[in-house]
């Protein structure tokens, strides 16, 4: 990756590296995978489903509600898998580049841990759901071609950070939801633990690259803010998968998705999901208030 325009990245990662070492576990032996999951338990917290808080949820039969928690859990874990595939390929292409030499130790932990996360998410989907949902289509020609090399670099890590923070909102809640099957709770709990380090790292590298962008051309910062805002909206949209509605036996999946996405209760839920990330982006000077619309 030609990154000469980007200054070497050095961050104080000793503490995070130590934590990664001391918290290391064997994912392949760590979980007890039951043969089957109790049929009357939701696989995802009901309050985290995409219809929660709306009349659309109340209109479902109990059977449909439970089915929705199952298929939205599969969707959530599938999104994790596809998100990890994207971030791993980006990070693998950078580790041991001169720019990233100073953070390569941490990146080794990161890559290893993400591969393990991908494994246990896929185990859950395949064992209990019998499938993954496919990745959403994307365009080869991307939405960042108008930006400088360093801003594009920032966006690579921003996408990783935002993805991890959104996922963590779900993990943190489900890690302690006693209504969930043990295996679902455990996966969320273990992931939440590892991700606290990834998010801490993600924020540090984000700030470093943002400073580099601002130093090169302060006028580019609002363009980055605009991209990030549309990335947040995009990410929320991926949680609403019409295929999951169809699998749960709910008719008119696409119209339902549209209605759900704009329902006031859901808009409030989106604010909750994004709260921590938006607060961070604003604090470091690249929040949505910079976006002119």
């Amino acid at each position: 990756m030609a990154v000469r325009e980007i200054e070497p990245i050095d961050l104080a990662l000793d503490r995070l590296e130590l934590m990664a070492e001391s918290g290391y576990y064997n994912p392949y032996t760590m979980f007890d995978w039951p043969e089957a999951i109790e049929p009357d338990k939701p696989w995802m917290s009901e309050s985290l489903t995409t219809l929660a808080g709306t009349p659309m949820w109340d209109e479902l039969t109990r059977e449909q509600q439970l089915a929705l928690t199952r298929y939205e859990a599969i969707n959530f874990f599938s999104l994790n898998i596809h998100g990890i595939r994207e971030l791993l390929s980006e990070v693998v292409m950078r580790i041991h580049d001169r720019t990233y030499a100073g953070v390569s130790e941490f990146l080794h932990h990161f890559i290893g841990e993400e591969n393990e996360h991908m494994w246990f998410f896929a185990q859950f989907c395949l064992r209990y759901g019998g499938k993954l949902y496919p990745a959403q289509p994307s365009l080869r020609a991307d939405s960042v071609e108008h930006l400088s090399a360093v801003a594009r670099e920032l966006i690579v890590f921003a996408r990783i950070l935002i993805f991890e923070e959104i996922v963590d909102h779900y993990n943190a809640h489900m890690a302690t939801d006693m209504g969930l099957p043990v295996i679902a709770r455990e996966i969320n709990r273990v992931h939440h633990q590892d991700e606290s380090r990834h998010v801490a790292f993600g924020r540090m590298i984000f700030v470093n690259l943002l400073e580099q962008v601002a130093k090169r051309d302060p006028d580019e910062v609002p363009l980055v803010a605009e991209y990030l805002e549309s990335y947040l909206t995009y990410s929320i949209g991926t949680l609403y998968n019409p295929a999951a509605y169809r699998d749960a036996g709910i008719p008119d999946a696409l119209a339902l998705r549209r209605r759900a996405l704009e329902h006031p209760a859901r808009l409030a839920a989106h604010e909750q999901i994004l709260k921590r990330t938006r607060k961070f982006l604003s604090k470091v000077g690249v929040g949505r208030e910079l976006v002119k619309r």
């Binding site: 289509p137 365009l139 991307d142 939405s143 108008h146 549309s230 995009y234 019409p242």
Partner: protein, 81 residues
Amino acid sequence: MNDQMRAVRDFILQRNSTMDTLSDDLDLIDSRAINSLAFVEFIFLLEELTGESIDPEDLDLDDFRTLTAIEARFFTREAVR
């Protein structure tokens, strides 16, 4: 223009507030009128308007490049398969 093509235009104009005209032959992808982040929503819109599902793993980008191409592929009688 039929209602479906109007909905397609509205979708694009809504997401490109600085655009005041939208010609039928504008390359929507190269011009970033539909960017990578909007593409999924755009596919869902077309699926809903046509009632046909679009396989995300089997797309021909040229079907989405211009309004003319979109109309020909999705909204003319020959497009119904």
